[in-house]
Amino acid sequence: MPYVVRGQTRETPDTVTLVLSPGPGAEPHPFAPGQFNMVYVFGLGEVAISISGDAEQPDRLVHTVRAAGKVTHALTEMTSGSTVGVRGPYGAGWPLSKVRGKDVVIVAGGLGLPPLRPAVYEMLRQRDAYGRIEIIYGSRSPRDLVYYEEIQGWRALPGLRFQTTVDTAGRDWYGDVGLVTARLPDARFDPPNTAAFLCGPEIMMKLTAQALTARGVPEDSIFLSLERNMKCAVGICGHCQFGPEFVCRDGPVFPYSEIRRFLAVREV
């Protein structure tokens, strides 16, 4: 379906958030937080990109894209009025209905925050349905942090703590430097009644899941969003196979209890 670029925000030197709306003949398509779209740049190719906007506004499709290859590079250079192809949404999203009534710990690394943002919007909209919300966001450096202004707004909300940490920083950074797991001891939650949503580099998610289970969070209450090379997005081509699962069709969000053993395998 054709979608038209309506706005773009440069988040970091190599990362842009695009706002798309349905083009001629296209209809808005509802999505669930955690799902992704296949975005096509005409003449170049197609990439899987998670949806990072508000699920309550399906006519305003938001994707945050880092320039990593020729297609994503082209997307970060798009100007208003440009047209892209969109098919989707695909995949299983964050199980928000399953975690109602619980404290929620969200841990994002790098561009792991955009797929989690729709879940945060949903929880904030139904704030009373959830307990404490603890968000830990790790990034390479202060200049690689996305959604800076919006995060400042979240920090001011009661019952929500947002911690940021980076891998390295210069002297102008007064925040934390170190692993996201080093910030977990500061997070307040009731482990047996806590769910966790993790998205980011796989090694970061693995260490975080281990730290959470060590603190008493049940394995089946920890959910990870995996990233694999997705091509068809409908579970046919096998590019994104992860053990017995297809990340595009069965994921990208999986319970830690189901995939823990595969995270320890070198070649999956």
């Binding site: 690394g109 790098g110 790790g138 990034s139 390479r140 690689d144 940490t165 891998d167 390295t168 920083a169 210069g170 002297r171 950074w173 007064y174 925040g175 934390d176 430097v177 170190g178 692993l179 080093a182 001891p185 980011g200 580099p201 090694i203 970061m204 260490l207």
Partner: protein, 156 residues
């Protein structure tokens, strides 16, 4: 600022998370040779190359561990906060700091005389081993942090 007793605003060195579960006799010995120190924002707690003469247990505030190279600005590689400890160069020869540590905000810490602490640990290997078991996770976390930085997982 230094004060010669190991209790700050009712907080005793014995209450610090690092010494919890250490043998009581060792904690008592550490308390006797500890002073409290305060650091203003921007003040250096440790300076690379200088003799490592103290073991710092952070009570509140935040400290940046910095490395300096001639061709680039100082880089913060880790921050340390309340309940954490700072510095183990005093345990290994030649007992010189290998990093700078700078307060990112007003910081208070217990400072244990590391020459005397090392003597305690040498004279009582059982206590020394227990101390090392407490320090090892701190070192392991620093190594893990370094691994992440080398892998550049967020940038790849």
């Amino acid at each position: 600022m230094n004060r010669n007793h190991a209790s700050r605003d009712g907080v005793r060195l014995a209450d610090h998370p690092f010494v919890k579960d250490l043998p009581a006799a060792l904690v008592a010995s550490m308390s006797r040779i500890a002073v409290e120190r305060s650091f203003e924002t921007g003040e250096l707690l440790l300076r690379e190359g200088e003799p490592a003469r103290e073991f710092l247990l952070i009570v509140d505030g935040k400290v940046a561990l910095e490395v300096a190279t001639p061709e680039r600005p100082r880089l913060t590689i880790q921050t340390v906060g309340p309940g954490e400890v700072l510095g183990w160069s005093w345990l290994t020869f030649p007992y010189h700091w290998r990093l700078d540590a700078r307060a990112l905000k007003p910081t208070h810490a217990f400072s244990v005389d590391s020459d005397r602490l090392r003597t305690f640990l040498n004279e009582d290997p059982a206590n020394g081993f227990q101390f090392l078991l407490h320090l090892l996770p701190v070192i392991a976390q620093r190594l893990e942090n370094t691994q992440f930085q080398l892998l550049d997982v967020h940038g790849s």
